[in-house]
């Protein structure tokens, strides 16, 4: 910020040795020193007073509790295994990963759905555009917490118990314990499928580069999208078939109180994801619509007169310009979705806040717990912002100031 400050020109600059308060630079410097000192003083006062009072009230402080045994169970974990014998630190890490899981899946789904609904609202089809408009107006005007309770109630109260579970497809069961589905039994070819997928992506990327260069040189277009898709999906498929198409499922079986085996999506996760995606989609749809509308109609007509098709005009001319308008507010929506995931507490999904709350309550160390929550959300938000800013710079018009 200091760099942006308008510099005085050399002509009116006071002599270097002057330390008089009449010198604007000295004054500005003095003010800044005073401000920093005041902020530092307040911070020091807050910290020292807090520690003093905590000590006086015999409230434990410090982060030593993180290495103690947590003693409570967590209903679902992502990647990291956890049991009640693990530490608070691990419990909080499990909560963090659960937050990541719902936020990451939520961002992807909300972006796809939001783009579709935003474009639908611009459609020349009357019914489609009115439906999209109705969706946006309904959803973004009902508080998210209410929507979460709604979805949770729909799932947990309207679905039958595990013994009477609905089975829309063989081995897939829908009950108030969530959705359980078969997963393939582990097979030696599985890791290689991942490798094939990665290779497909890398080859598609190289192909796109080559096609772009060739088109710039010779003007000949290349069906990049179809070829890319064939590479990405085809390589793993070929490998899978070559391995003899091993399909051995691990289907869920009702045993005792619940299903065992197979994969599962809990009602809490489903309700939270559904609520977040549906809510954020409405905002993203409006952002996409605004972005497309912000591009001058003349651009479309100009593209047309150059002989580009409607799809080419959209992809090569309209969307790149719309993206400049879309990306900054989209960042805010991603941040909102991530932070809104903390409403999980209300419906019992074990996210970071839920587990940090429990930790605070079992250890009584509220200040440390709140500090951890704030720090983690700050880090996540700054990381998302940094990524989106980088992307924004990439798609900005060359030479233009974003």
């Amino acid at each position: 910020m200091a760099r942006e400050f308008p510099r005085r020109s050399g002509a009116v600059r006071a002599p270097r040795t002057s330390w008089s308060l009449n010198d604007a630079r000295v004054r500005a410097f003095a003010y800044q020193v005073l401000l920093v000192a005041a902020v530092g003083l307040v911070a020091w006062y807050l910290v020292s007073n807090t520690t003093q009072n905590l000590e006086k009230r015999k409230i434990a402080s410090g982060f030593g509790f993180l290495s103690r045994e947590a003693g409570f169970e967590i209903s679902e974990t992502t990647f990291l295994s956890y049991s009640a014998a693990d530490t608070y630190l691990r419990a909080i890490a499990v909560g963090l990963l659960n937050t990541f899981r719902v936020a990451a899946i939520g961002i992807v789904l909300a972006t796809v759905l939001g783009t579709l609904i935003g474009l639908a609202r611009l459609s020349r089809n009357w019914l489609l555009s009115k439906l999209a408009a109705g969706y946006v107006e309904l959803i973004r005007n009902v508080p998210l917490l209410v929507q979460l309770f709604f979805w949770y109630t729909v799932i947990s109260e309207n679905l039958p118990g595990p013994r009477e579970a609905l089975s829309p497809l063989q081995h897939i069961f829908l009950s108030n314990r969530g959705i359980v589905f078969p997963v393939p039994r582990p097979h030696p070819v599985h890791p290689w499928l991942g490798v094939a997928l990665a290779a497909g992506v890398a080859l598609a990327w190289a192909l796109a580069r080559w096609a772009r260069r060739r088109q710039a040189r010779t003007g000949k277009p290349f069906p990049v999208f179809a070829a890319g898709a064939a590479l990405v999906f085809g390589l793993p498929l070929v490998l899978y078939l070559a391995a003899g198409a091993p399909l051995e499922l691990n289907p869920p079986v009702l045993s005792g109180f619940n299903f065992s085996g197979g994969g599962a999506l809990s009602p809490e996760f489903a309700a939270l994801l559904l609520g977040l995606v549906i809510y954020t989609t409405a905002f993203i749809a409006e952002i996409v619509r605004a972005g497309v509308l912000a591009v001058d109609r003349g651009q479309f007509e100009a593209a047309h007169s150059l002989g580009l098709s409607r799809r080419q005009a959209m992809r090569l001319v309209i969307l790149p310009q719309a993206m400049r308008v879309i990306v900054p507010p989209m960042t805010s929506q991603y941040l909102n979705l991530t932070k809104n995931s903390s409403l999980a507490v209300a419906i019992g999904y074990p996210d970071l806040v839920s587990i940090a709350n429990t930790t605070m309550n079992q250890t009584g160390q509220a200040i440390e717990g709140v500090a951890i929550i704030m720090l983690v959300y700050l880090t996540i938000s700054l990381a998302i912002s940094a990524f989106m800013n980088w992307y924004n710079r990439r798609i900005a018009l060359r030479g233009a100031k974003a």
Partner: protein
């Protein structure tokens, strides 16, 4: 809900930051100058603390606060109530938002030491149990392997539950929801196979919240000790004494056979113990910094411990059990008031 929890945490931070000068004063003085006691209670647990149809708070935890108000002001109604969830309760007390935490809270070593609280005594000896729908045909907690269990976070219940399943080499899935209403909805809707909390809570919930109480059974195993009692802030001995002896006075009154109905006749009792209790002789009240008729006021306006139990818990189907007086084979015992 998050917002409220965050608010409490924020309140604690602010209070800890700013309340240095308030510490020098005892809560007894601040309570007297503001004219009422701020009592932290449950958000609604029948028999312990729940508003009745007229909006009046009722229950044995409420009666404890009323007893303290009667002792301090001679008027059991000089109270304000703050309903607290399990997660909010300690922060509310630490931050000075409430003067007494009387919210079916288990006395444990960790809470007594690292939370900056002092537990005053026990007004209900409890233990943790399990409730299951009758149609599940479960006879024992040992058959609960693989069950989904509804539980409230931030409770000793949550920890005992994990301990019990670990000790018995069983697995379970917790469904952890902070609000009592929400967690009960989840249980009654069948989201969980089991609901666990203190047996008193199970009895109260079954009697007051279940669509049909006969459809739910409480399993015989009691898996923990849960001495429930009121707590105050650490380091305020005068206030600690006032609350502690108000609790003891209700137990002592039952032992002496003093009730709200007969205490006026006993004002002139020749029994020296009763004489001291009602403040006719001695200066017991003054030692506490209270009016000498403090104990009389408690019994006259709130009643003794047994009256409170019979009024609040017996109608819900509670058995006195180990909460009988020591003279009748129970655990309720008050040190001598002299």
């Amino acid at each position: 809900m998050t917002a409220r929890t965050a608010l409490w945490a924020g309140a604690l931070v602010l209070a800890v930051l700013g309340a240095e000068s308030a510490q020098a004063q005892s809560t007894l003085d601040t309570v007297k100058s503001k004219g009422f006691i701020h009592c932290g209670v449950n958000t609604g647990l029948a028999g312990f603390s729940q508003p009745d149809s007229k909006g009046e708070w009722r229950g044995i935890d409420v009666d404890l606060c009323r007893a303290v108000a009667a002792a301090v002001f001679g008027d059991a109604s000089k109270l304000r109530y703050t309903p607290l969830t399990a997660q909010q309760r300690f922060t509310a007390l630490q931050s000075g938002e409430v003067d007494i935490l009387s919210r079916n809270t288990t006395w444990t070593l960790t809470r007594d030491t690292s939370l900056g609280l002092n537990f005053v005594g026990v007004n209900y000896y409890d233990g943790q149990g399990f409730m299951v729908p009758k149609k599940r045909k479960v006879k024992s907690a040992k058959q609960l392997n693989g069950a989904t269990v509804c539980v409230q976070p931030g409770t000793t219940t949550e920890l005992n539950l994990a301990d019990y399943f670990r000790a018995n080499k069983m697995k379970f899935k917790p469904v952890v929801i902070e609000k009592l209403e929400e967690v009960l909805n989840a249980y009654f809707a069948g989201r969980c196979d089991v609901y666990t909390t203190d047996v008193s809570g199970l009895v109260a919930v079954r009697a007051s919240r279940a669509p049909n109480p006969a459809d739910h059974v409480i399993l015989p195993e009691v898996i923990s000790k849960e001495p429930l009692g009121p707590a105050v802030r650490h380091g305020d001995d005068r206030w600690f004494d006032v609350v502690k002896w108000s609790l003891f006075a209700t137990i002592e009154a039952e032992e002496l056979g003093l009730t709200s109905a007969n205490i006026d006749q006993n004002l002139n009792s020749p029994n020296p113990v009763i004489q001291r209790f009602v403040g006719a002789t001695g200066d017991i009240g003054k030692m506490l910094g209270l009016d000498n008729r403090w104990a009389y006021n408690i019994v006259k306006q709130v009643g003794n411990y047994g009256e409170s139990f019979d009024r609040n818990l017996t109608p819900l189907g509670f058995d006195r059990g180990i909460n009988k007086l020591w003279t009748q084979g129970g655990l309720m015992y008050a040190p001598p008031i002299r």
